[in-house]
């Protein structure tokens, strides 16, 4: 399945770009991410807990960054193996451009699943992928934009599904804003 969207981030392009290439930021933004280590050059290793329909699993996998055009665009590709639950693969083509309000982030996500995830979760996979992509970029926006008041709707979602969200929340947000100097 493929989905695309864009959102305006009230931050300069250089700051958005740096955040995109940061393991810490990615960890906070990937929904359900438990662990993320590595670097842009070597790629990242990630552990993500996700629930798709009736299947909940821990995915271990690699995220690689490619097609890097500094300040312009990057491709994030990931493949996670969930053991008996099957696998998930995806890639996001992200590009940045200047807009009066800050930076326009555009993404095209291509995702697919296999094994038990496809067998049991195929009816809901489109919705899950869309929700995950939205959540990621929303988290990302929150992380990068300075002094944004929390969106009450997002906060509700975080509380509703803590297991899938990792340890998101206000305290953490404050932490990586400090990292980014935001």
């Amino acid at each position: 399945m493929e989905l695309s969207d864009s959102r305006v981030i009230a931050a300069p392009r250089s700051k958005v770009w740096d955040a995109l290439l940061s393991a810490e930021v990615l960890k906070e933004c990937v929904p359900g991410c438990q662990e993320m280590t590595g670097s842009v050059d070597d790629g990242f290793e990630a552990t993500v807990v996700q629930k798709v329909g009736p299947v909940k699993a821990t995915f271990k996998g690699a995220v690689t960054l490619s097609d890097i055009v500094t300040l312009e665009s990057v491709k994030l590709s990931g493949e996670g193996k969930g053991g008996a639950a099957g696998f998930a693969k995806g890639a996001a083509d992200v590009s940045l451009s200047d807009v009066p309000e800050g930076t326009l982030l555009t993404y095209i996500v291509d995702a697919r699943v296999g094994g038990k995830l496809a067998q049991l979760g195929s009816r809901v996979i489109d919705g899950v992928a869309r929700k995950m992509a939205d959540r990621f970029f929303e988290n990302f926006q929150n992380a990068v934009e300075p002094e944004k008041t929390p969106d009450p709707e997002t906060s509700d979602q975080v509380q509703a599904e803590p297991s899938a969200e990792g340890e998101g929340g206000e305290a953490k947000k404050g932490w990586f804003k400090r990292v980014l100097g935001g």
Binding site: A118, Q119, L120, S122
Partner: protein, 786 residues
């Protein structure tokens, strides 16, 4: 006047007492002391090259007995195919290897790669999670027409292409066929899909195997429709074991529908591993495993063309079909789109020129093999759909068009290799018209329309070739087996009888119907006769149950053996009565001397056979006889079905309002069991027509692998059925005159449902000439508004 016992009586199914009270003994109920459990790690991609399999961590995990990979089976045979099809150029089909565990490549989601044997199933599963697979994903071959193209990705690298065979039956001269179509007054063409189905018997597959070091003997308990066939295939082609050292038991089996005919890798694995581990090994499929490892059914994509002359006589028929075989050749898969399909394309009609073309394709999907009807539903669906479309195009009554073209003279040699011995298609259609009250349809339609619904009537015929079949004929057609059957009638000293039969009962009611025949022949109570089946150590031999063959073939063997028993018993009776054997008559369990009041009871004769104090010296003691029976021809059950549906024009929802079946099964032993078989078959046909679909995405991921996504018919999806089997033209060549009834419902019902829905839509002014199955509300609504 209905009989209350013997042939023709609706005796209650005696086996249901144990099935309905939880006293059945299924394979999963069998646990052998010390057994270990196997978990199969299966491919979660459709196609890939295996670079490495690292089992080292798993081998050290708690409880793990041994971990097997494809390498352990390099010196072992693969899963065999039991039918060699010769293509239209005279070449044998392409027959790729089918290893027990994947070697080199994985070829479908569910292909077993590693087998972990451990003390408990949980330990085996945990260990499987620790196995590191390095598999390079390859493009999946899914769409059959693309798979047939030059340069397509190969499912099997050693084959020249993905086409198993390009087969033809009927008129070989293309010019002659073209000529018929060029000169036809009308040609109707239809493209259609026969959707892939999953059989989903209530009981998933199970295998338990044990090996005795002391005697070098193996016992395999398995969910099979034919334990002797499994033993033969496994011993001779897969594991290289002597048959006399292997016992295969298929105890109570909870439904088969064809998918438990085949020899599967898991049962061969358990047998192999029982010796290799020196421990009994058990495997019980989960429902998810069943979806991706049980052979699936149907999956044909066809174009059919029907040529008619100016008087609406059928003058030519041509079909082009792509038949999906999946990733490997399952045991009888190659025969289904060919000899079980092409040979039925004449249907009930005297079309003089028929050409059937079938390309059978390898794809990265679960193997496809026989499923209730096996090839015959695919043939019937094409033919009865194109006839219906022709009737609509020509503006003629679809029943009249069929009647006009019926075969009426028997025996009838079809242009596609069969000889129909008997039938009465007009008579059966008369029964349908009466039983379904077709005269009252207009009024029922008006009632439906008054409440805003569209009502449609679909009628079609079917014919099937059952009682498969004469060994000499199937041998010529490529079968690597004979298709006779066997029975031993063992009369005990006190007169009760055990009949060891080669047919296996897994829902068909043999345990009730077979004794009715023997009891009727002797004139004793049915309760004195019991059948024994499903154990190679107890029965002489058996080719098993499929193709509606049990009573026609194995039942005939049982009749022959019973006749031998009666002949011998008459000799003993003659001795006891001091009369000539020729004067002895057997009636109601009494042997009597014709024209006298001298008689001796069945029980006295049987006791004499085992206590032969006063006994004819030239006769052996004991009373037990065996017969093998090889039929002279197939049997040809045929029928006519009528379906009435309502379609909600706002939602496209279809409901079956009325379904009537008129079948000619020849003579009938137990009418109630026959009704039940027809009910079940129609239920599966309605499932195919409205609900069931096995779907893969373009990457070969199986999307419908649970009952959330694979819609089985439920009680509220089907109506109360009307079943009429009073049209009876007895089979001319078996002693009971029976034809077989197990598959008819599944063969005859899908086109009736589709024809009915199209009739409803057209009556509502929508010119829709086809909707692919399953006719979901979305498809129907789209067709109405498209």
């Amino acid at each position: 006047m209905p009989k209350d016992s013997g042939i023709g009586a609706s005796s209650k199914r005696r086996e249901d007492v144990r099935f309905l009270t939880g006293a059945g003994n299924y394979t999963d109920d069998i646990n052998v002391r010390g057994q270990a459990y196997v978990y199969f790690l299966r491919s979660d991609i459709a196609h890939g090259r295996i670079n490495s399999v690292d089992t080292s961590t798993a081998e050290g995990m708690p409880g793990v007995v041994r971990v097997f990979t494809g390498k352990d089976f390099e010196g072992v045979g693969g899963m065999p195919c039991g039918w060699e099809v010769t293509d239209k150029h005279g070449a044998p089909m392409q027959e790729p290897p089918h290893p027990i565990l994947a070697q080199g490549k994985v070829r479908h989601v569910g292909d077993p790669i590693v087998a972990v044997v451990a003390d408990s199933l949980e330990q085996a599963r945990d260990a499987a999670e620790a196995i590191d697979l390095d598999i390079e994903e390859l493009p999946a071959v899914i769409d059959m027409k693309s798979a047939a193209q030059e340069g397509a990705t190969l499912v099997h690298d050693d084959l020249k292409n993905n086409i198993c065979y390009d087969w033809q039956l009927g008129e070989a001269d293309d010019a002659k066929v073209n000529d018929v179509f060029a000169n036809a007054a009308h040609v109707t063409t239809l493209d259609l899909v026969n959707n892939r189905l999953v059989a989903n018997p209530m009981e998933p597959r199970v295998a338990v195997a044990e090996y005795s070091r002391g005697t070098d003997e193996y016992t395999l308990y398995t969910t099979s429709q034919n334990p002797h066939v499994i033993r033969l295939l496994m011993c001779a082609f897969v594991l290289g074991l002597p048959e006399h050292k292997v016992r295969v038991v298929a105890p109570d089996v909870g439904g088969g529908f064809g998918t438990k005919i085949f020899h599967y890798a898991e049962e061969a694995f358990c047998t192999f591993a029982a010796k290799a581990c020196n421990r009994p090994v058990k495997w019980t499929a989960s429902r998810s495993e069943a979806f991706m490892s049980d052979a699936q059914g149907r999956d044909h994509v066809s174009t059919i063309e029907l040529a008619l002359d100016a008087d609406n006589n059928f003058i030519g028929l041509r079909t082009n079909t792509y038949a999906n075989l999946g990733a490997y050749l399952s045991t009888f898969s190659s025969s289904v789109p060919t000899w079980l399909h092409g040979t039925l394309m004449a249907g009930n009609y005297k079309t003089p020129v028929i050409q059937v073309n079938v390309k059978a394709m390898f794809t990265n999907t679960v193997p496809v093999d026989a499923y209730r009807g096996a090839g015959r539903p695919e043939a019937t669906f094409q033919l009865e759909r194109v006839i219906d479309k022709a009737a609509r195009e020509l503006g003629v009554d679809p029943i009249a068009l069929r009647r006009q073209n019926f075969v009426t003279q028997f025996p009838y040699d079809t242009p596609v290799a069969l000889t129909y011995d008997t039938g009465d298609y007009n008579g059966t259609m008369d029964k349908l018209e009466a039983a379904a009250d077709l005269a009252g349809f207009a009024a029922r339609r008006a009632q439906s329309e008054a409440k805003g619904k569209l009502r449609g009537l679909g009628v079609n015929c079917y014919i099937e070739a059952c009682g498969i079949a004469p060994s000499n004929i199937v041998g010529m057609l490529g079968a690597r087996a004979g298709l006779y059957d066997a029975a031993t009638v063992r009369v005990n000293a006190t007169g009760s009888i055990s009949v060891m039969v080669g047919a296996h009962s897994h829902g068909q009611g043999h345990e009730t119907a077979f004794p009715q025949v023997v009891a009727d022949m002797i004139g004793i109570d049915e309760s004195m006769v019991e059948i024994v089946h499903g154990d190679t150590s107890k029965i002489p031999f058996g080719m098993g149950t499929y193709g509606s063959r049990s009573l026609a073939v194995c039942g005939s063997a049982m009749v022959k053996a019973t006749e031998k028993v009666i002949d011998k018993a008459k000799k003993i009776a003659a001795h006891l009565l001091e009369a000539s054997e020729a004067d002895i008559e057997l009636k109601d369990g009494q042997f009597s001397v014709a024209g006298t009041d001298k008689s001796v009871a069945w029980g006295d004769v049987t006791l004499t056979a085992y206590v032969p104090h006063n006994y004819p010296l030239e006769v052996e003691p004991g009373l037990e006889e065996t017969a093998f029976y090889d039929p002279a021809n197939f049997t040809f059950p045929a029928g006519a079905y009528a379906c009435e549906v309502e379609v909600d024009p706002d939602t496209g929802q279809v409901t079956i309002e009325k379904f009537t079946a008129a079948d000619d099964f020849g003579n009938i032993v137990n009418p109630m069991i026959v009704d039940g078989q027809v009910h079940g078959g129609i239920g599966q046909g309605i499932g195919q027509a409205l609900l069931e679909n096995c779907a893969y995405d373009e990457n070969g991921q199986l999307l419908s692998a649970s009952f959330m996504d694979y819609a089985m018919p439920r009680a509220d999806d089907v109506p109360f059925y009307g079943v009429d089997h009073s049209s009876q033209t007895p089979c001319t060549h078996n002693p009971l005159g029976v034809k077989g009834c197990g598959e008819a419902g599944a063969i005859g019902s899908p086109p009736a449902v589709v024809n009915a829905v199209l009739d409803a839509l057209n009556s509502g002014g929508r010119a829709v000439d086809h909707i692919d199955m399953p006719m979901s509300p979305s498809r129907v609504w789209t067709a109405m508004h498209g």
